[in-house]
Symmetry: C2
Subunit: 138 residues, 2 copies
């Protein structure tokens, strides 16, 4: 038995691809289903292609909402400050900034929470992150 | 960058542990947080401990609901019929039976959809699965 992927539905495929690319995931496979009117895009962290994120884009858009039974998807990252800076520069809200050099939370355009955890534990605390307050929920 | 886990919140920890154990996942780590009044349990498929499922059990129970922005968590399995039989015997509804010997869907006690995919493609079609209708949504 082996983990394959977590699937999330996205309303705006381009917005989601931008978000996840900024996060650091890369597209590894795409399937267009004309008959079913949906597109599947599989993403993964470089070098970790065995654990994928599947985006389902239904061509007929609906509002998917969000709920708390699903919590988040977590990734270990090499430099949590560099990723948060890149996301922030791209206009993504850092809901839980990495004040401790260890953990951050952001949300996808479809309100999927993403947890980022610093590889090796924690980086030394660093501004502007140390002074940055939480924003909203995640 | 590396995938670590997907987190889901559970209302009834025992019911969830039973469900995921029947599915084939094993507990690999547990943390009780007295002050925050929550318990974290990490599960994984045997031999695939790098990709984990994190259960968050808040001691003060709330209704978490479900929404379609989160789709499902997928596992590759060695024998899809054996797993579906085991789940069914434990009282779990097989929402999408493996009629094709390839794919099945069930849902956790907290309505988290789980996709099961047969390793190597598909087993030869087999009763009672071939004749089994879909049940509900997943």
């Amino acid at each position: 038995m082996k983990y394959l992927h977590t699937m999330v539905r996205v309303r705006d495929l381009d917005a989601s691809l931008n978000f996840y690319a900024t996060l650091g995931l890369r597209e590894i496979r795409r399937m267009e289903h004309e008959k079913g009117r949906f597109t599947l895009v599989y993403l993964a962290a470089p070098g970790d292609e065995g654990a994928q994120l599947e985006l389902t884009y239904n061509w007929d858009v609906e509002d998917y909402g969000s709920a708390r039974n699903f919590g988040h998807i977590a990734y270990q990252v090499d430099d949590i400050y560099a990723i948060c800076k890149r996301l922030q520069d791209a206009g993504v809200t850092i809901n839980r900034p990495p004040r401790d050099g260890h953990m951050a939370f952001v949300r996808s355009p479809d309100l999927i929470s993403i947890e980022l955890l610093q590889k090796g534990g924690a980086l030394p605390p660093q501004e502007p992150w140390v002074s940055m307050p939480n924003v909203g929920v995640w």
